[in-house]
């Protein structure tokens, strides 16, 4: 088993160890949809029900899960419950993807060097065709 593979295994176990983290919360497509809507601004529960075309109890259930992991915050406004996105809680997911992004960026930076050479060569040859 390689070092890299051990890393993968441990990371996978780490996430499997809990059901109450942001990774799990966003694994459900409807909850991602709710987050997408809330990314555009805060909304009441009724508003979300209308926009998502989902039954109110289902929307409330998803909101509860999102609230438990801190992905959304709620405030009362009169008789309305208003939800908004809490971007900070998305940070673990963001960081996770970012690290992957960085290794691709290093790869592409090497490719930039190769491409500059290819361009120079082509210009020197007066076209490669």
């Amino acid at each position: 088993m390689t070092y890299l593979y051990i890393g993968i295994y441990v990371a996978d176990m780490a996430r499997a160890a809990t059901t109450a983290d942001a990774f799990n919360a966003v694994a459900e497509p409807r909850r991602r949809q709710i987050l997408d809507v809330l990314a555009g601004g805060e909304h009441s529960v009724n508003d979300l029900v209308g926009r998502l075309d989902l039954a109110q109890p289902l929307v409330s259930k998803h909101l509860r899960v999102l609230r438990e992991v801190g992905l959304v915050d709620v405030r009362d406004e009169g008789r309305q419950r208003i939800y908004r996105l809490n971007g900070r809680s998305l940070k673990p997911i963001h960081d996770w993807v970012k690290t992957f992004e960085r290794s691709w960026e290093r790869r592409f930076a090497e490719m930039d060097v190769v491409l500059e050479e290819l361009k120079e060569k082509e210009e020197g040859d007066g076209g490669d065709e």
């Binding site: 694994a27 992957f100 960085r102």
Partner: protein, 161 residues
């Protein structure tokens, strides 16, 4: 999603089983395609700064296979192979990809090249068969592998406590 012109890779996870990688290059697409499909050139960029490519085999025809092997700086070897499913020179490549440490699973990579004003934007869509396989793929990009994983485990433990 807006793509910046600063030449920075953008990675998103459009669905549970996909990874989408986008990047702009300051070169026309026939050169980007050349860098992507020519073994001597692939060897120079594919490993980034993570190791050395020891094998890069490319049989660039539909049904042909490719295989890349890298010895990472830490000394271990990782190998990938796959098959070319669609080839439209300078436009589009569809390949399968198997990470040889997990041979039962494969991803389908769809790569497109779009040129504007001499600059090329590539989009690479990686489609895995399961969320678990997709997540493992993203995890594999982790710097320091184990250390990061342990850090994450610790964070999780703290957040649960």
């Amino acid at each position: 999603m807006a793509v910046t012109s600063s030449g920075t890779a953008i990675v998103t996870l459009p669905t549970d089983t996909q990874i989408l990688i986008t990047r702009e290059f300051n070169a026309p697409k026939h050169l980007v395609y050349k860098a992507w499909t020519t073994p001597e050139l692939i060897k120079r960029w594919w490993t980034g700064d993570r190791g050395e490519a020891t094998v890069v085999e490319v049989d660039l025809r539909v049904g042909g296979t490719w295989r890349y092997v890298m010895v990472a700086n830490e000394g271990f070897e990782v190998a990938f192979h796959g098959e070319y499913r669609e080839i439209v020179p300078n436009e589009r490549l569809v390949t399968t990809e198997v990470y040889e440490a997990v041979p039962d699973d494969f991803a389908v990579n769809t790569l497109t090249f779009a040129e504007e004003d001499g600059r090329t934007t590539i989009t690479l869509l990686v489609e895995h068969s399961s969320k678990q396989a997709r997540d493992m793929h993203v995890d594999s990009g982790m710097e320091g592998g184990l250390q990061e994983a342990l850090d994450k485990l610790e964070q999780l433990a703290v957040s649960l406590g």
